[in-house]
Symmetry: C2
Subunit: 338 residues, 2 copies
DNA sequence: TCCGCCGATGATAACGTTTTCAAAATGGGA
DNA sequence: TCCCATTTTGAAAACGTTATCATCGGCGGA
């Protein structure tokens, strides 16, 4: 049973034990060609006894087909990233694919190249790039031609097939909602973006201009809730700020804490709306109004697009879904009826 | 440049173009054996021109060395899991390894077996199992012998090398802290555990018995903050509950919301202490007292253990770290001086 | 000048599997 | 009974790389 040491049993070992030829074992295992019941049993018995497990490298070498897909992302712990990854993994697993994850820590060219090289040092069937921020966008540009690639992001695509969450529509809906509540304008605390086109900022800006109200300067917070917290404290001193849209829910929570510590009440004094639909948002006090996005579905759609690329040629080029505004407690009318 | 179609260039194509033999190309690429500068240049030029990329499957097949490690986990979105995964990935990437992730959704034998089979259908150098819950523990038992395996968990190991976060010590510290504040006893809202030995519950129980106070029944919440929220509402009606330790911070946040909605103030009426050190905890209102754990470090240590297994035989068998109690606003003395 | 040594190079084997192709076995019809 | 079609089986080739081994060249020492 516990045959340690030496080397893993090969198909030849199984064949010898079962008293059949090597190809017969292969046929039993892959099920590609029928084999007589009697031999099939002998082979399966031998497989069990030896604990034989096909060598994927050899199999991949001869078939040329890979069953591994690479995911490139800048971070795997943030809510949106982790959920998208989960969706990709689930869809891939159900299709018999394995997911390899490689993190791209910065958008510095050397680091990006190193990460891409590492990811591609292994034979992969395709690549999914989480293009939510600069590192993701940089990685996309460094992937070699001829490799099936899909990007998952919140904006429109450029070249490669994209699975998209329509950030712009979500941000517009949230901004329209706040304006409809009577707020004079809406401020925006931004997350990093993948390029010039920032879907969330675009939607926010578009809603404001369409309503013919002033567009205040964007407040950049990066990914850190700490920074949003500081912004919250700064904003607390300004009476003209009555509604804030945040690039994601973590930022919104940090911001609310900053406002709270500085004595501003949410939503009585300031309305705060987040983005993403973080599962903790509904337990927050006050519960967070947010633009809910189905990241897991984004991941599944990303893999589906990639599957289309791998299979028949008639693959879809994009897959888009609209987010949904979820109104909870952190938003309301402005303090002085606007 | 963009040579699509046909098949990827092989080392033979490079050799022919550079006018050298196949092994010489291999030597240039791997750097294993010195090659004359003139030939090296020719080879590198040919590599560039053809866009040659070594076939990892062939390489893996002949060397027998794998540069892929598999991670088995039941979920990749929860804070502890995601952070541990991040630590593993980081350490692996720095060592030139790639991380494959396979999710085990339930502890049902068939599902576990399928996931393990999928993960091992690819040749891997070793496996890290996130053994925080039943699916992880089940996976650990289904891995074949002879494969380097490390478990990362919050409890002690059994057989395979373990990287550990000392849950027991953390839970004891938190419970001692609450008892020291004057609480008559401390209730415990539990997360799922990987087996009979639940580190957090053990530490909590040990601290209570050592202080000779009553040990209330464990309140099981699973992983869902929703369930903790309900428990919070239930507990709100009980005056004897003045201090609650939660199995993780998400649960604590759900619980606090439930208490809040039912009119109980935290920490004035009830003290709540979480577990894990979720980054959002400090922004919560009230900011969450918690037992902070360094999951990323746990991941790095897991990989280090695995590296020891892969390299020389004198590998460490365990690696343990103690968590740290971080006192914030959600805990304080009981309402009526105890 | 010759011998032996060392470094660079190339031919060939090996890794473990699937695929191709031919051979053997089986079955059915005349 | 014989022959052909069909199914099952096995031998050998192929995948792309690295490892092994022998060969070739140059160089230093006698």
């Amino acid at each position: 049973m516990a045959r340690s040491s030496t080397r893993a049993p090969s198909i030849a070992d199984v064949a010898k034990l079962a008293g059949v030829s090597v190809p017969t074992v292969s046929r039993v295992i892959t099920g590609s060609v029928p084999v007589s019941p009697e031999r099939t049993d002998r082979v399966l018995a031998a497989v069990r006894e030896l604990g034989y497990r096909p060598n994927g490298a050899a199999r991949a070498l001869v078939t040329g087909r890979q069953s591994v897909i690479a995911v490139l992302a800048s971070n795997t712990t943030r809510y949106g990233y982790a959920s998208t990854l989960q969706g990709i993994e689930e869809a891939a697993r159900l299709a018999g694919f394995i997911v390899m994850i490689t993190v791209i820590e910065t958008d510095e060219p050397a680091a990006v190249q190193a990460a891409v090289d590492l990811a591609l040092s292994h034979p992969v069937a395709g690549v999914v790039v989480l293009k939510f921020d600069p590192p993701g966008a940089a990685a996309l540009h460094r992937l070699p031609d001829g490799l099936p690639v899909v990007a998952a992001s919140g904006g429109r695509g450029d070249g490669v097939p994209h699975a998209v969450l329509d950030d712009t529509a979500g941000a517009m809906a949230a901004t329209d909602y706040l304006l409809g509540l009577g707020h004079r304008t809406v401020h925006y605390v931004a997350v990093p973006t993948s390029g010039r086109r920032a879907g969330r900022a675009t939607g926010w800006k578009r809603a404001l201009t369409r309503a013919a109200v002033e567009v205040p300067p964007v407040l950049d917070a990066g990914w850190e809730p700490e920074r949003a917290y500081e912004i919250g404290r700064e904003l607390a001193g300004r009476d003209d700020v009555t509604a804030v849209l945040c690039g994601n829910d973590e930022l919104a929570m940090g911001l609310m804490r900053g406002l709270h510590e500085a004595g501003r009440r949410v939503p009585a004094d300031v309305s705060v709306v987040g983005f993403d639909g973080h599962p903790m948002g509904r337990f927050w006090t006050p519960a967070l109004t947010t633009v809910e996005q189905d990241f897991a579905d984004l991941g599944r759609r990303s893999f589906a697009l990639l599957g289309g690329l791998l299979g028949a040629g008639h693959a879809a080029k994009t897959s888009s879904a609209a987010p949904r505004l979820v109104v909870r407690e952190s938003s309301g009318p402005p303090p002085a009826a606007g």
